[in-house]
C-alpha cells in the first residue's frame, strides 16, 4: 500500500490540477464521508456477527466446525495454531455463505493472530483466498440481476464460481512457495 497509495494519489491529484482543481477536496471529503457511513453499517453488522461468534464459541460448536476444516486448513496454511485455524475456518465458511459482515472480523482476527505468531505465509495465503471472493451463491449479483429484469438471474453463478476458483488457484500458487515459517 505504501507503494500503491502515493503513485495513484499523485497521478490523480495531478490530473485534478490540470482538469479542474475544484474537484480535489470534494473528492477526498466524499471518500471520507463514505468511510464514515460505511463504518457505521459495518459496526452494526460486526456487532451482530461478533456477538454470534461469541455464542458459537462458548457453546462449543465452533470446535466442531474447526475439527471439520482443521486438517485441510492446517495443511494449506502450514500452521497448527488453534486460534488462527478456528478464525480462518470461520472466515472461509462465512465467505462461502456470502456473509461479508461475518467474514471480515474473522479474517482480521486470524490475520492478526498469524502475524503475531510469526506465520506470515499463512496470513498471506488467507488474504489471497479472501481476494478470490469465493462464494457458493453470488447473492448480491443475483439480486441486482433480478432487479434489472434478467431472464434467469442465477445463470452467472457457475461461471462466477469457476472464475473465483481460478483466481484463488493463481493467488495460492504465487504465494505458497514462500518459506514455511518466516
Amino acid at each position: 500500500m505504501n507503494a500503491v497509495f502515493p503513485v495513484i494519489f499523485l497521478a490523480a491529484a495531478l490530473l485534478c490540477l490540470i482538469r479542474d482543481p475544484a474537484l480535489f477536496l470534494p473528492a477526498l471529503l466524499e471518500g471520507g464521508q463514505k468511510a464514515a457511513v460505511l463504518s457505521l453499517s459495518l459496526l452494526a453488522s460486526y456487532c451482530v456477527w461478533l456477538g454470534f461468534f461469541q455464542v458459537l464459541e462458548e457453546s462449543g460448536l465452533e470446535r466442531g466446525l474447526g475439527r471439520l476444516m482443521r486438517r485441510p486448513l492446517a495443511r494449506l496454511l502450514g500452521t497448527r495454531d488453534e486460534k488462527s485455524l478456528s478464525a480462518a475456518a470461520r472466515n472461509l465458511t462465512a465467505n462461502l455463505l456470502g456473509l461479508p459482515g461475518a467474514s471480515a472480523p474473522a479474517a482480521i482476527e486470524a490475520t492478526q493472530r498469524m502475524m503475531q505468531t510469526g506465520n506470515r505465509r499463512a496470513a498471506h495465503l488467507l488474504f489471497v483466498l479472501n481476494c478470490a471472493g469465493l462464494q457458493l451463491l453470488p447473492t448480491t449479483v443475483i439480486a441486482l440481476r433480478t432487479a434489472a429484469g434478467a431472464a434467469s438471474p442465477a445463470d452467472i453463478a457457475l461461471p462466477t464460481l469457476l472464475s473465483s476458483l481460478c483466481c484463488a488457484a493463481v493467488g495460492v500458487l504465487i504465494v505458497a512457495p514462500g518459506a514455511r515459517k518466516s
Binding site: 460505511l38 452467472i156 472464475s163
Partner: protein, 169 residues
C-alpha cells in the same frame, strides 16, 4: 429463497445448542458485540484512506483514462472494454464497483454479454487493496507486495476466464 431461510435457521440452531449447554447467551452475545467498537476504531483510518483514494481515482478521471489506455489490451484478449472501469475500481471499493455494476446492468440490459461478463468479474474477485488495508491494519506490512500482486494476478485471470465462460455457458 433458500438463502433468506438459512440465516434465521443458523441463529436458531446455534442459540438452541447454546441454551441446551447452559451458556449465558445474553452476556455472551454482548461480550462479543463489545469487540466490534475497538475493531472498527482501529480500521477506520485505513478505511478512510482507501476510500478517499478510490474517490479521487474516479473523480479525477484517472480511472477513465486508465480504462481507455487498457482498452486495446483488453479487447485483444476477449474482454469487453465496457467493463474496464469496473475492473479498475473493484480492487479499491466494493460499493463503488457495485454502483458501476448496476449502471452497466441498466445500460446494456441484464442479459447482454457485457452485463454477464461484468457480473462474473464482479463476483469472482474481491476488493484487494481494501482487504489488504483492513486485514493487515496495525501489523508489520513488509512483504505485502507479493500477496497483493498475487491477488491482482488472480483477479486478472478470473476476468479472462470469466469472459470466456460467459461466451460458452
Amino acid at each position: 429463497m433458500s438463502a433468506a431461510l438459512l440465516l434465521p435457521l443458523l441463529f436458531l440452531c446455534v442459540f438452541a445448542v447454546a441454551l441446551f449447554r447452559r451458556v449465558k447467551i445474553y452476556d455472551c452475545f454482548v461480550a462479543g458485540a463489545k469487540r466490534a467498537v475497538p475493531l472498527l476504531v482501529s480500521l477506520f483510518p485505513y478505511l478512510a484512506a482507501v476510500l478517499m483514494l478510490a474517490e479521487l481515482f474516479e473523480c479525477s478521471g484517472l480511472a477513465a483514462l486508465a480504462a481507455r489506455a487498457l482498452a486495446p489490451l483488453l479487447s485483444a484478449i476477449g474482454i469487453p472494454t465496457e467493463i474496464a472501469p469496473l475492473l479498475l475500481i473493484k480492487p479499491f471499493s466494493g460499493s463503488g464497483s457495485l454502483a458501476l455494476l448496476s449502471r452497466i446492468l441498466s445500460e446494456y440490459g441484464a442479459d447482454s454479454y457485457i452485463a454477464r461478463c461484468a457480473c462474473v468479474c464482479y463476483g469472482a474477485s474481491d476488493t484487494v487493496f481494501y482487504l489488504s488495508a483492513i486485514y493487515f491494519a496495525g501489523t508489520q506490512r513488509k512483504g505485502l507486495l507479493l500477496p497483493v500482486a498475487a491477488a491482482l494476478a488472480g483477479q486478472f485471470t478470473a476476468t479472462v476466464v470469466g469472459c470466456l465462460l460467459c461466451k460458452w455457458l
